[in-house]
Every structure is written in structure tokens, then in C-alpha cells.
Symmetry: C5
Subunit: 355 residues, 5 copies
Amino acid sequence: MAHVSRKRSRKAGLPPGTPMHIGEPRENAVTMTAFSYTASTLKETELSQSTDCQAVLNGLAGTHWIRVQGIHDVKPLEQLAAFYKIHPLVLEDIVNTEQRPKFEDYSDYIFVVLKQIGWQGTPPQLRIEQISLILGSHFVLSFQEHSDPIFQAVQKRLQNNKGPLRMRGVDYLIYAFVDAVVDHYFAVLEAVGDEIEELEEALISIPDQNCLHRLHRSKQDMIVLRKSIWPLREVISHLERGESSLIQDKTRVYFRDVHDHTVQIIETLETYRDMLSNMLDIYLTNLSLKLNETMKVMAMIATLFIPLTLIAGIYGMNFKHMPELEWEWGYPMVLLFMGLCAGGLMMYFRKKKWI
Amino acid sequence: MAHVSRKRSRKAGLPPGTPMHIGEPRENAVTMTAFSYTASTLKETELSQSTDCQAVLNGLAGTHWIRVQGIHDVKPLEQLAAFYKIHPLVLEDIVNTEQRPKFEDYSDYIFVVLKQIGWQGTPPQLRIEQISLILGSHFVLSFQEHSDPIFQAVQKRLQNNKGPLRMRGVDYLIYAFVDAVVDHYFAVLEAVGDEIEELEEALISIPDQNCLHRLHRSKQDMIVLRKSIWPLREVISHLERGESSLIQDKTRVYFRDVHDHTVQIIETLETYRDMLSNMLDIYLTNLSLKLNETMKVMAMIATLFIPLTLIAGIYGMNFKHMPELEWEWGYPMVLLFMGLCAGGLMMYFRKKKWI
Amino acid sequence: MAHVSRKRSRKAGLPPGTPMHIGEPRENAVTMTAFSYTASTLKETELSQSTDCQAVLNGLAGTHWIRVQGIHDVKPLEQLAAFYKIHPLVLEDIVNTEQRPKFEDYSDYIFVVLKQIGWQGTPPQLRIEQISLILGSHFVLSFQEHSDPIFQAVQKRLQNNKGPLRMRGVDYLIYAFVDAVVDHYFAVLEAVGDEIEELEEALISIPDQNCLHRLHRSKQDMIVLRKSIWPLREVISHLERGESSLIQDKTRVYFRDVHDHTVQIIETLETYRDMLSNMLDIYLTNLSLKLNETMKVMAMIATLFIPLTLIAGIYGMNFKHMPELEWEWGYPMVLLFMGLCAGGLMMYFRKKKWI
Amino acid sequence: MAHVSRKRSRKAGLPPGTPMHIGEPRENAVTMTAFSYTASTLKETELSQSTDCQAVLNGLAGTHWIRVQGIHDVKPLEQLAAFYKIHPLVLEDIVNTEQRPKFEDYSDYIFVVLKQIGWQGTPPQLRIEQISLILGSHFVLSFQEHSDPIFQAVQKRLQNNKGPLRMRGVDYLIYAFVDAVVDHYFAVLEAVGDEIEELEEALISIPDQNCLHRLHRSKQDMIVLRKSIWPLREVISHLERGESSLIQDKTRVYFRDVHDHTVQIIETLETYRDMLSNMLDIYLTNLSLKLNETMKVMAMIATLFIPLTLIAGIYGMNFKHMPELEWEWGYPMVLLFMGLCAGGLMMYFRKKKWI
Amino acid sequence: MAHVSRKRSRKAGLPPGTPMHIGEPRENAVTMTAFSYTASTLKETELSQSTDCQAVLNGLAGTHWIRVQGIHDVKPLEQLAAFYKIHPLVLEDIVNTEQRPKFEDYSDYIFVVLKQIGWQGTPPQLRIEQISLILGSHFVLSFQEHSDPIFQAVQKRLQNNKGPLRMRGVDYLIYAFVDAVVDHYFAVLEAVGDEIEELEEALISIPDQNCLHRLHRSKQDMIVLRKSIWPLREVISHLERGESSLIQDKTRVYFRDVHDHTVQIIETLETYRDMLSNMLDIYLTNLSLKLNETMKVMAMIATLFIPLTLIAGIYGMNFKHMPELEWEWGYPMVLLFMGLCAGGLMMYFRKKKWI
């Protein structure tokens, strides 16, 4: 199961605004890359932690994107936050990977938290990663836990000058990131959809414990996905409504498109949830049906043979004086009687519609 | 099961606004027909892909409807979009058949996505087809996946000049399309209703595995239908409210009528969902009831005969010294004792209200 | 079961606004009666289909009520509609008995659809009939499927000049009709309530298949009732709010009263739904409890007697060399051993709290 | 079970505004008492039905409260209503004890309906009584079905001049009544809470039919309570918002307090509902678990002994030519074989984790 | 189980505004400490009950916080309330520990009720404690049931002048308290999350009664937690919106942060609820699956051996004239026949896919 809540309690008691990484511990270094670009040029600068970060940032001309990979080391992030005058509570939220997707407007900049979802390991388990974005008037800061390839495609389009990325402002860059994250959800949902179809067929043919286990896993996964995706609608709705002057009017139509995708994802999610509940209900009823059939067969066998066994038992008793045993036709008559008993019971079963 | 999500993931990573057909692959060619009409005249022009599309479109006088059948070939659609200045995101949505029903107002034109639902194959399965409509000031564009006969009736009324179709503006034409789609839902729901009635009777008389399977199928179908039909209400509500100047006031009353039908369809859908849930609950309880009865019969048989069998077994033992065996009345006394045991148990059962 | 959806699909493909009767076919003729009245006078005119309808209608002085019984013959209704300038979509809705309760304000007149609910046949089944009302500035048109006595009481009060019916305007007449329909729901709910109480007692004492069948029937009925009654609240809410100038201010307090009754009916309906669900849950659990008890008894019997039967079987074997058979105290010792076994098992059962 | 709906149908067909007592028939007489008071004086007058009611009412100086106990006799109530110019629909609602809690503002006076809830009989059953209050500019009318002691405390505080009752206006008196009714709900909920705790322990230790019956009763009670208490929130919300000039601003803070209590009661009610549902689910699962254990024991016994019994049966056959029977070690070998069979099965059970 | 409702009914009948402690009885004394501080100074004064409370309070300069531990003695609280002109209803709410979390704006001061939640005893049970806060223009009053260490951290930061506590106004102090309470919820939820993970594994491996008991406990706990935490969102929402002039604008961003945490807690809570429901469903289905398997094994054993036992019984009968017994190959033929029966049944089972 994807962990729903990581050890957040370590923070309890600290003064608010104290940035402290909450999440799985990491070992690889934090890397920061600055992309400053115009319609025709693109400059890429590595911001190593040792170099004077401030100097480099001061040197960045015009529109730029600072890409941060790894948020477990708070130091360099604090330098960045200081340069861009980011509120301490924002920094605290960036390094605390337990945030829910959210949109916060600090008038000078917009702070957006998203959840990137993927599969990991065998059997595949949900992995949820937090992505934080800060949109200023001429800059974008992006923060990721890993060096995931989620922004790779956007980076390439920027480097190769494909599409209108460089022509448009930083709000369009933010849109590109959000779109990349949301598009990735479709792949996750497809995997879930395939699993549901497989499960559905398995439940009908061989309803074993493994099926039930997979069904359980899928249902728990849906709950976790729901928790990550539902708040997203509101986040994108804020971006779409364009309340902030940082989002240009002509970019809003793109956010409307991504909002539409989010609603589609949520509806598909709900549809899957309903389908899984449905499947569990049917599965339980199917088990009950099979138990009924098993018991009917067993009850018939028992009802048919137990009385006959008693009769055989009676004539197996060793009493001295049992006149029937002496009769010449005793044995065939008993067999006949047994046959009649069996026949009568069969007719009773047929009347009760058991056969 | 109707596929809830088709391979949308192929698109992940492409820049937004790249039109790419998402849906089942098709082989037949895309056909485009232009109908330009006034109250008294109607001209029909085939827009073959080879001819100069632009020239023909430029030549269309006044009110016209371009009917596009097949959306798997993006080329001709791009020509059309370019001529009518359709936003790339709209074109992307038209060819992506995974859209949810939606209404988008681009001030110059209105973009509407609907889902047409039908039955296909044996046993009949739900088939969902996407229909996209664009309403401009003097033109309507319609896009379908197949050459379905859904717009045939409207086309005939236009050709035969029946009803007020030609007299009124293009907004009435849009209404005619929406009405045709919504009216078709009633037929789908009737089929569902008939299946529910059949199922209900079957569940009472012969509750077998097949019933359960059909019940499951119907429940999953309802989930899929719900996903396609629910958003429709909002779409038609937008059309009815007449926020856009492209919808005339006197057409609004017709959209109110079709909105009413949509609400009726949704309520019937919810009613069917409730009924199916109800039927499953009752079915499960019925199974439990039958199991109880079976087990009661079996418990009685076992309780009645097993002790008697033991008695018979005891007197079937081959001990040398078993005084009872020698008694002259041993055998009848044992039979009598067995009868008393059975009678006593019967009375116990009657006390426990098992008989 | 009350049919949820009748054959509406026959209409698919027809131009909108084509009136066509949808509902069960009828044979008796359509009767139309006109009541024109002032505070002191009342004139009753039969509008036979052969007479010149228009002439009679033109001759009606002041306030009047046209009562139409039977809507399966569209002809006379079209004459009526033409005279009062009723929109074709309204006429279409009147003859289509599949409408949901609704309120539509056409500024010149108000169109209201209600559902009258009753019991029919043995065992009683729900029968839902559509009642359509049109309120103009000085006239009321009422349409019923049958010649049901639902408006009889109102008609008598009008004829006998009891109550303020004649003194007040036609909006009060509409109120009288709505009130009559809503009051009738209480009788229907009482019958449901009585059935629930009966069922509740039956489930506790003799939980047989018949109970389950009745429970199922009641639950399905509740779903159908819910579908007919829920939209009514909104309808009456429109009437109460008095947005139309056709409803006088002093009549609004009466509509508030009937709105209150509707809410009460809906709440009672929901209460019954909850109660029935509750009863089914309890019933299922009760079955499970009884099964448990049955199985415990059976398991005890089996566990007690089966080992003893084996012992008896062993000493019933015909081996030549079985020393125990020769022992003088063999038989009593075996009986003693059997007794000890049984006693030990009884103690085990007591420890497991089975007895 | 508290009756959810009493015989309201008797009223169907009567003109609206006809007061008619709906509820359980009563025998004791209607008593009416008038309390007229200022900050320092209090006069109590019995309004017997025979005296001239009007004269007494005319004689009442300033602020006064008319307390009516018993509403089954419509006559005296009509006199009262006539004097205070109460709308006929209000009087109709007062005597019809099937009302839901409601607030109605008739500008000259406010009409409030509440439900008082108590326990009655052994085992205690819910008893719901209707309390109607009318607040005028300088008078309060209160109507009760019985002579319940619910207003006794308020009456005493008024008589003994304790608290600010006499100092403040009639709106504070209304508050005192509402507060008394709502405070009483806490006692009812406590009884429910105690029953739930008892039931919870019983379900864990001895889950018998009686438990199930009590659980059912509690769940049905919760449904009835819910129906009576939910609408109360809206009623008090109307009083708190102080839309009417009859409620003074400084009294609003008191209604806010009682509104708060109502929300607390509703939340507790919902919590209890959830707990009971939860308990039923657990109970059902517990039964299933126990059935499983019983069946496992029984299956083991059967599987262990039935094959052994067959072996014993085979060697109990009376065939002339059965070589094993002649063998000297036949008997011990058969016993050994039986032991091996039993041992093997035991190992199989252990592998399947049944033991 | 945490008690949902304590003995509130003792209060019924008392005039409103009478403070009376409702909650578990306590023995330790009420302690009151006053902290008056500026940016550079902090004075701590113990307000013993014997000293003249008023004098001390009058002597407090500027911003100060009165910390009250223990609310079971109403006397000293009344003195405090009198000094700060707190409304009697507020005092009544402070000492009644059955309040739901709420926010009340009395314009001169804000009254906030929170619930602090913790674990207590072995096995750990939920303990819910009420915390009341009053925020005036230059003072904060805090009320706790116990001397819990929940405010200890805040007190230390105040004493050590760490963080901006002393620099900012009393509204920031209130924020610090609310934040401390909300942060503590994360620890509670983590414990629940751990229990759920443990339970999930236990349910899959060893589904015994203990598991079910723990599952039940967790579900009931979730219901209680939900009741305490849900209303909190609204409370903090009031604080965040800053409707009162007592909350400064620059403090609002902090309340937004804590509001965000509350939403996160509520979503986690709902996620856990869904997961637990899911687990119970799966558990029940799992039991059903296991029962099915058990019964299938047992039915096979019974069906296989019972007929064979009958055959053995028949040839164990002692009839004089049983020709088969005399046959030389009788015994092997019977064994062969038994083997054929068993084989046939095995094939039947295989056909029915039971093996």
C-alpha cells in the first residue's frame, strides 16, 4: 500500500515556519539547474551548492526556470527562498512531502503543490511524489523529490524550441508542467482499467483467494488515488479562473483544457470505484450461490443415503430372534424397500425443485 | 463491457494542441458533406479530400452545415479547422474520442461534445460514440466517428423541408441534433428496463449463475451510462441559459424541453441503479434463506438418523457376551427404542419451530 | 411493479413538437367539460367532439375550467390548444404520459405536470397517472388519463359553492387541484406504512420467502414513488415563490402549506426507505444467526455420534482374531468407553460455549 | 416502534383550512391557562371552556402567555384563534399532530412547531409529542397534546420570578420553551448512548437473537429521531437569524446557543447511527467467522471419521471369501491402517492451517 | 470507547446561562497563571484562588495570557469572567466539556472551543479533552480540563523568547495554540495508520476474532474522531477569513496554513474510514470464500464415502439368503464396484470444477 501518512509527527512542537524535510530519507545530492531563455536563446546553468548561488541568480536575464531535484537538504532551498523572497511557510510546505495538492496566491507569486503518481516495483505499487511549483512575474521554480523524467519532455521542447514554449510567458511554462503531470494520470488509470478488466474475467472463471487479494489491493489503491487527485480539480480551477495577474488571459483557455482533463480523470476514478464495489458485491453473491449449490448436493446425498444406511445397519444387528433374516425373500425385499425410499426422496427433491 | 478508457496514454508527452486520433482504428475514408440552405433552397456538396476544400467552403452561401463522418484522419479536419479559425485545442478534443460531454464557449463559436449510445453485437453490448458539434454565427460543423444514422432523420427533414428546420437559424439545427441524440437514450433505457424486468422474474424463479452474470453486466452498464449521461445535463443547461448570443431567445424554449428530457433520463437511470442494487441485496438474502432451509432439512435428517445408526451399529458388534442379543424380545424392543428416539427428536424440532 | 418507462421510443426521429400519445392504449372516448363560474353562478357545458368546440369556448364568460378526461385522442386536444394558444411542446408533454412532475412558466400561462398515485388490483400495485394543468389569466385547463375521482371533491365544492372556491381566482382552483393530489399521497404512504409494520412483525416471527418477496416489492415501490414525488417539491416551490403574476399573493400562503405537506411526504418516504433497508439488513443477519445455530446443533450431533459409530463399526468387523470380542466384560467396557468419549466431547463443547 | 404516520388520510377531500384533530384519541378535557405578567406581578387565570373566553382574553393586561393542554377538542381552539386573528391554516396545523418541525412567519405573529420526544412503557418506546408555539408582539400561545411536565420548569421560574424571564419580552419566553424542549433531547440521546454501550458489550460476548432484536429497535428508533430532529435545525436557524421584528436583537445570542445545542444533538445522532451500522456489520461478520469455525471443526470430524467408518464397514461384510478376515494379524493391521489414515489427514489439515 | 456523550442531562431544567461543570469529576485544584509580556519582558504571576484575583488582574500591564488548568471548580472562573466581561453563556460552554468545536464572535472578544485528542491506557483508548480560548484586544484566556503538556511548547517559546511569539499580538498567540492542537492530530492519525497497516496484514494471514475486534474498535474510533475534527474546519475557516478586527491581516496567512492542515487531517481521516470499510468487506468475503472451500472439501468427502458405506452396510446384513455372499469373487467384485463408484464421483467433481 502506498503510505497514506508519513512520519509527520516529528515536527510537532516546532515553531511554525521551520522548514524540515518530511518524507523518505534520500542519499543523492540536491541538484539545481537554471534555464534562462528568450524566444531565440536558451542558457542552462548548473547551480552547484558550493558556488555562490546568489551571484548566479542575480546574473539570470529575463524569463527563467529554476529546476530543483531533491528536497531533502533544506540548506540550498533556503538560499533560493531568500533570493526570491518566498514566505517561510511556503518553504516548509515544499520540503514536507505530506501536502495535499493546493493553490496559494501570495500576490507576488503563486504557489502550487501537485502529486505525481506512478507505479513502482513488482507487483507494481503506487508511488506518489510531490511536485511544488512557484510562479513569479518572470520566473518559475520547480521542486521534485526525485530526478523523475516527468519534466523531461517539457525541458526538451524548451531546449529544441518546439512548440510555443519559449514564445509565451512563464504562465505557459507552468501550464506545460501541470499538463505533463495530469497527462501522466491517464497512464496510471489505464493500468488500473486493465487490472479491473482482468480481475473481472478472473472473478467469473476462477474466484480464488488471489483474486480477492488483488481486488482488495485495487480498492485500496483507488482510495489513495482519490485522495491525491480530488483536490487537484480545485487547484486547476484556481489557475483557470485567472484571479491572479500572473496568469495571462490567453493562457486561461489552456488551463480550461487541463481542468477538463482533471474532471475526466476524477470521473473515471469514480467509475472504477463503483465498478470495483460492484465486482465485490457480485463476487460475494457468487460465493453464496456456489455454497448453496454445494450444500444442496450434499444435503441430497445425506438425505438419500443416511436412512438407507440405517436400514442396512438394522439388518446387520446380531439379535438371535430377527424373523426377517430367516425369510427367503428378505434380502430382495429390503433392497426393494431401499429403492422405494430413494425414489420417494428423489420425488420430494423434484417437488422442492432441488434437482 | 464498454471500454471506459481507451489508449489515451499514447498522447502523453506531446505538446498540447497536437490533434491525434484516440479511439478504435478505422479503415473507411473520412467523408465530408456540405449542406447550404435558405428557407426555399438546399445545395448539397461533397467535399472530397482531394478537391480544394477551401474553394468549396468559400463558395458556400449563407447558412450551412458541414457534416463530417469519420475522424481518424486528421488532415482534412485540420483544413476545415483552419478555414473556420477553430482553436487547436478544439480540434484535439474532436479527434480524441475519450472526451466527456462538454460545452465550451469560444465567443465566436460554441463547441459541444455529446455521447451517442447504442447497442452492438450479440449479446448486445453498449457502444459509445462521440459526436462533436461546432456552432458558428451562420454555420454548423458536426463530427461523428461512424456514418451512424443518428443524424439521418434531421438530414431528411432538412432535405424535404419538413418542419421549421430551414426557416430557423443554425441554433435550431444544433437543437435538432441534440434532440436526436437525447431521444435515442430513451430507446437505450427501454432496453435496460426490459432487461431489469426479465431479470427480476428470473431471480424469483430460477436464481442461477447466469442471472447473477446478467445482473452484474447490467450494473456495470449503468455505471458506464451514468458516466456518459450525467455531464450532459450541464451541457444542455448551458445551451438553455442562452448565455451566448449565438443561441436565439426563441430557441431556448426548445433547449428547455431537451433539458427536461435529460433530467428525466438521469432520474430513470438512477431509478434503475437503485432497483438493480435492491435486486442484488434481495438475491443475496434469498440465497441465504435457501441455504438456511437446506441446512435445516439436512440437520434434521442427520440428527434423526445418526443416533439410530449408532444403536444399530452397537447391536451389530460381534461381542461374545451381549445379553440383549439373546433376549427373545430384544429386536422389537430395539426397534421400539429407535422409534421413541425419533419421536422425541421430532417433538424437539417442533418445539424449536423447525418443522 | 409500476412500469418506470413506457414505450417512449416510438417517438424517436419525429420532429419536436409533434403531439403523440405515449402511454397505455385506451378505448373510452375523450370527454371535455367546461365549467364557467362567478361567485354566484355556475354553468356546465359538455364539449362533445362533434360540436364546434371553438364556438362553445368563445361563448364562455369570465373565469372557467375546462376538464379533459382521456388524452389518447390528440385531435380535440389540438383544437383546445389552438384556441388557448398553447405552445406545441406543451401539448406534446400533455399527451406523453412519461413526463416528470414539472413547472413551466410561458408568461401567458403556467404549465404544471403532476403525478397522481394510487393502488390497483390484488395484490395492490402502484398505478401512476399523469395530471397536467394549465393556468391562464382567467382559465384553467386540466388533463387526466382516466376519469379518476381525484378532482370530484373539488368539482362538488365548486358546484355546491362550498368554501371560497368560487370567490377566489383561478390560481386558488389550481391550488385546490394540487392539494387534492398531494393529500392523496398521504393515503398511499399510510398503506406503505401499514405494510412495513406488518412486515416487521412477520420478519421476526416467520421469516419465509413470502416475507422477502413482499420486502422486495415494497423497496421497489419506494424507488418508484421517490421518482414521482421528489420533483414535486420543486414544482410547488415555484408555485409558492409566486414568480408569475398569475399567482396572487394571498394564494401563496396556501401553496406554502401544500409545499410543507410535500416536504413531509418526502421525509416520510425517506424514513420508510431507511426502515426497509434496515429491515433487510436485520433479516439477513437473522438468517445468518439461525444458520449458525442450526450448524452448531448439527456439528455437535456429528461430532458426538460419528466417533461412536466408528467404534461400533470396529467391533462389528468379522475378523477371526479379535481378542476383545472374547472378553467377558468386552461389551460393557466398550459401552463405558463410548460414554466417556461422549462425556469428554460434551465438556469440550461447554468449554467452547457451544451449549 | 413510534408510529411514523398516523391516520392523516381521514382528512383527504376536505377543503383546506378545516381544523380536524389528527392523532391518538384523548379523553381528558382541554385546559387553557392564561398567565399575564409584568416584571413584578403575575396573574394566573383558568380559561374554562364554559366561561366567556373572549371576555377573559380582553381583560388580560400587557404581556401574557396562554397555555393550552390538549388539542383534541377543536372548539375552544377556534375561539382562541379568532381572538388572536390566527390564520385557519395555522389552526389546522396545530391540531394535526403529524406536522414536521417548522417555522412560519405571518408578519403579525410567528408560528413554530416542535417535537418533544420521550420514552414510554416497558420496554421503553419512543413517544413523540407535538408542541406548537405562537409568538405575537405581546403574547405567546403554547399548545401541547398532553399535560406533560416539559413546560413546568419554565412555569415555575415565571411564578417564582427566578432568572430574567419576567424582565424580558415574550421572545425570551419562546426561547425558554425551545431550550426546554432541546435540553430534553440530551436525556433521550443519553439513554440511546447507554443502550448502544450495553449492546456493544453484549454483541461481543453473547450474540443471540435478543441482541439482534435490540439492535434493530435502536436502528429504527434512530430513523424516527432523525426525522423529528433534523428539521429543528432550520427552525432554530430562522429564530436565530432574527428576520422577524418580533425577536429582539439581544435574544438572538440565546437562540444561537440553542442552535448550537441542536447541531450537537444532530451530530451525536449521526454518530450513533454510524456506530449502530458499524455494530451490525461487525456482528454479521462475527457470525460468519463463527460459522466458519464451526464448519471447520465439523469438516475435520467428518473427514477424519467417515473413511475410517467405511473401512470398519468393509470388514464387517459377511462375504464367505474374505482372506483378510482369516489372517492372524488382520485386526491389528486394520487398526494400524486406520491410525495411518487419521494421521495423514491430520497432517493435511495442519498444512491447510485448519488446526 | 471514548464516551460520545457524558451526563449532560443533569443540567436539564436549569435556567440558561447557569455555569455547571459537565464532565468527569476531578480532584486536583484549579490553577490559574497569568503571563504578561512585551517584546523584551515576561512576568509570570500565579493567581491562587485565595488571593484577590481582581487586584492581580488589574495590575497586569499590556498584552497578557491567563492560563487556566482545571475547570471543575466554577467559582474562580466566574471571577475571571466577571473581570473580562464574558457573557454567561460563554462561561457555561467553557465548563460544559460536551461542546463541539466552535467559533463565536462577541465583537469585544472571540470565543473558540477546540478538542484535543490523545491516547490513554493499555490498550490505548481515545481521550478527548476540551480546550477553550478567548481572544480579547490585548489578552488571551485559555481553559483546559487537565494540566496537559499541549501548551507547554508554546509556553517555553514564550518564556525563552524563541520565534516571533512576543513580537506579535495576541492573535498570533491564539494561532500558536490552535497550531499546537492541530499538529497533535497528526500523531493520533499516525497511530491509527499504523494500526490499519498491522490489521491489514493480520486479516490476510490469521483472520481471527481478535482481528475483528480490533477492526471494530478502529471503526468506532474513526467515528468519534470524525465527530471531533469535522467542525474544526469551519472554526479555523472563521479565523482565517479574518472577519473580526481582533485578527490582524498578517496573521491570516498562518491561519490559512493551519486550515490547510485541518483539511489534510480530515481527508486522511476519510481515507482511513474508507480503508477500514473496505477491509471489513474484504474480510467478510474472505470468510465466505473459506467457508466455501471447507464445505466443498466436506461435500466431496461425504459424497464419496457415504454411498460406499451403504454398500458395505448392505453386505454386512445378516440375511440367511444373500447369494452374493456365497460367491467366490463376491468380495473383490464389491471392492471393484466401490472403486468404480468413487472414480465416477471423482470425474463428476472434476466436471463441476470442484477439484
